[in-house]
Symmetry: C2
Subunit: 507 residues, 2 copies
């Protein structure tokens, strides 16, 4: 493909994306394909000779689009938002066009320096403590990681290595492997699966401590666990708190956790993958309480900042703790400006060596939306979630399972879990809206997250009508089944040896 064809293909693709996003409500949010659908549609080998881009684009409509779950649809309410924006899409393309690697300053000065700039912009926008700024004196700063999972893993690994070094000095009678065998970390039983996974990968158990009845992890639970573990000869390393949790967007109590961490030389990391966006809002300033006491923090830009995945911001109070742990340089990576300036070699701040020019899409998005545009976007999500919350409250067949938090409402049909489960199954079959379930203390509930690139009040109405209608239908069927079961039950009392139960029929 030459430049002329690229100009044609690229512009056709721009129109394809614009058409797709403008008309995204035309599609069911969930696709109607069965597992293996695409394997049957595509050849078993790559073509020997080139095909034209127009054939490929036709096939994207024919075979790819039918297999897409439309995350940018306002009818997406599963997980948390993964929002793109028009400027961010262009930013990703421009970065691909430059096609650079950013593992050191010399690899492309603009890549490293623009990341320093936008991470400071973002830290100020989010009202983060000054020691997280690059422009501030001191060893702190921000970096773009690929995902929240990687940010958490970086914190866990750096904390682990720091603890090993500290213990080797303070307890020289212990061997390194004895020290490593005693390390222990903490999080809440409400925290994201990536935190438990970080523990598995780091070969350091992460105890999932019981959150309170309000699903919040507090210092007293951490204190109790640390005391117990220290008494048993273990070495507490890190606590990963959540703002907010994946299930219900609960906010762990950073102040009380920080006090316990400080007393025990424990690294405090905050996973604010979703709720971090709200740090920007004055009306949510209480969410920032205690942040000046944490060692590291991560926040996903695709959740509230309209920058497409992958782009996970991470700030470190003392980046040297990560660099010391991860630096394994070779001669071919050295360059003459190394270590001379305040310009970081970000490869030491992360797991992989290679890194894309992600700062470009961040910069383009921030400039074309402006701080006021970003704040308006977050507030819109909150307003739409309030709208949904009011609708839930107004229908006595439903109950909230936790207070609405930002753009997330957690609710269920009153009564047995089975009703909520059937409701979700019905909604998934109809594919008009997409939610996922969660569970707390044996109670199944549904998570309604405001998502999509441009959700509107009418989309919330649409979702609620769908949910109400389907609950009515589920309940009606239940009554029929219960009646049938009742009749059948009468019958079985007459027919010995026949074992049919309500429960069987209801499935």
């Amino acid at each position: 493909m030459d430049a002329r064809e690229f100009r044609e293909f690229g512009k056709a693709a721009v129109d394809f994306v614009a058409d797709y996003l403008e008309n995204i409500r035309d599609h069911d949010v969930l696709p109607s394909v069965e597992p293996g659908y695409l394997l049957d549609l595509l050849p078993k080998q790559m073509p020997e000779t080139p095909e034209t881009w127009s054939e490929v684009l036709k096939d994207i409509n024919r075979v790819i689009k039918p297999g897409i779950t439309h995350w940018q649809s306002p009818n997406m309410h599963a997980y948390y938002p993964t929002s793109v924006s028009y400027p961010s899409i262009v930013g990703e393309m421009l970065a691909s066009g430059f096609g650079i690697m950013g593992f050191s300053w010399i690899c492309s000065p603009a890549c490293t320096e623009l990341e320093v700039v936008v991470m400071d912009w973002l830290a100020k926008f989010l009202n983060l403590p000054e020691h997280f700024l690059h422009e501030n004196e001191g060893p702190g700063g921000g970096v773009i990681q690929g995902s929240a999972s990687e940010a958490v893993l970086v914190a866990v690994l750096a904390a682990r290595e720091q603890a090993v070094r500290r213990l080797r000095l303070s307890q020289p009678e212990l061997s390194e492997s004895e020290i490593r065998g005693k390390l222990i970390a903490y999080s809440s039983d409400q925290s994201n699966s990536c935190i438990e996974k970080a523990g598995v990968l780091a070969a350091m158990p992460i105890k999932l401590l019981p959150a309170g009845a309000d699903l919040v992890l507090r210092g007293d639970a951490l204190k109790q666990a640390i005391e117990q573990d220290v008494a048993a000869g273990l070495i507490p390393v890190i606590c990963i708190a959540s703002l907010g949790t994946t299930g219900t967007c609960a906010y762990d109590d950073i102040e009380s956790l920080a006090s316990i961490c400080e007393q025990n030389e424990v690294w405090l990391h905050v996973d604010a993958a979703y709720a971090g966006g709200a740090f920007a809002l004055e009306e949510c300033s209480e969410l920032r309480r205690g942040l000046e006491r944490v060692d590291s923090l991560n926040f996903n830009l695709h959740k509230f900042m309209l920058v497409n995945f992958d782009c996970a911001a991470m700030w470190l109070r003392d980046a040297n703790k990560v660099i010391d742990s991860f630096n394994v340089d070779r001669i071919y990576l050295k360059h003459k400006h190394e270590g001379q300036t305040q310009i970081p070699d970000f490869r030491h701040w992360q797991i992989p060596l290679g890194r894309r020019f992600r700062a470009l899409k961040v910069w383009i998005t921030f400039r074309t939306l402006g701080a006021e545009g970003l704040r308006a976007h977050i507030r819109k999500h909150i307003t739409l979630a309030k709208q949904f919350e009011d609708l839930v409250k107004a229908d006595e067949r439903f109950e909230l399972i936790a207070p609405r938090a930002l753009g997330l409402v957690c609710f269920r049909a009153k009564g047995e879990n089975e009703i909520t489960s059937q409701l979700l199954q019905r909604l998934m079959e109809r594919k008009k809206i997409y939610m996922v379930k969660a569970e707390h203390c044996g109670r199944l509930f549904l998570r309604f997250a405001v998502c999509g690139m441009d959700p509107k009040p009418s989309d919330i109405e649409f979702a609620w009508t769908e949910i109400q209608t389907q609950l009515t239908s589920v309940c009606a069927e239940q009554q029929v089944n219960t009646r049938k079961a009742g009749e059948l039950s009468e019958l079985t009392t007459h027919l010995s040896g026949l074992h049919v139960t309500n429960a069987t029929l209801q499935r």
Copy 2:
């Protein structure tokens, strides 16, 4: 930004990229900026109100482009290639436009299934063993990781967890932390820094074994190390071999390494990040010797397949070994098709939870270039490197440090390291071409890698002329300095207390 503005901005950006890549030879490959240049040019805060896209695009020309190291330039010869192609750029944009997450099948069936398809296409194109195919019966298959570093880390971590499980059964008298404290891994002292880093991250030492004089790691070195370590009570876990190494693209001897690994229940991983592309060529079939005996393998698509970074292919002989090690599912990640089919939930094959729709750019690139286009691209790199090799051989002031391997030529100016060092410094100051240095047995050398999106014979001529001219100039200056030093030396014999040496003057 609305859809109308996006259509304008997107199309302008397509033209920007096309213009940039068509005229890339107009720029010095290295930028002429000093550290901190961009920090001085940009505001300290994001703008409060939106700016227009045309202002931003103007600024990309004004402040970003001057800070770019032009990796797509044919005058880039540092590291290894990171090539983009026009279809791949469009593929990245389309994937951004869909804006989906691919952590499970239901998240977007097309994302998971297209990855299965293209990984099988690629495995066949590279003539990999059948057990690496998804379509084959059995637990093997391919997955797209973010980078070679991540692929290596996944192999290291999975091998570590498998070893721990095996040992807990076979040696129940050992505690888990005793086992972990005895684990040991192996690679060559020529392998990439990401391998040593994987050991640091995994808290499992990776011994860098001495490669032979030809820079190749062989089974006998591994055998000796394993015997020694087992005698010392250690537990060998994994060997990471390279095809080829970062320094000189040396090919470790997979057959002899595999024999030792099989005898010792050691996982054999092959890092073929660069040379893996040559598996596609019949004339390079000897490179594939022993691959049927390895447990896992990684290969970077940006190095030879013209798919822009990030896109690192990884194949596993038994993916269950990774899945068993990494699976930490939550209820909100469950879906009804889970585990029912041969469709993998790729989140268990990797470090992070989130994943982009990377298969799309792979599919678009493979279809529009075709197998013949990809093979022609690899052969072009080899031919151009041969051209360079011949030029080096024809100038008696230079010597090769290792045989040319694929698109890489390692050479130096004959004599003291200082000459080669000064030559490189001169070339870096002039910014016309970009190479990096490496070292073996105290001998400094330069790595000339064929890179860029569309390198031509005239680009090789250009580079060689630059190198020759600058060596001439360096040597001339050396002679002047030596003469001056000689005169000075005579002088110093007359002036007591004055300590000026040749060495000082030459710096």
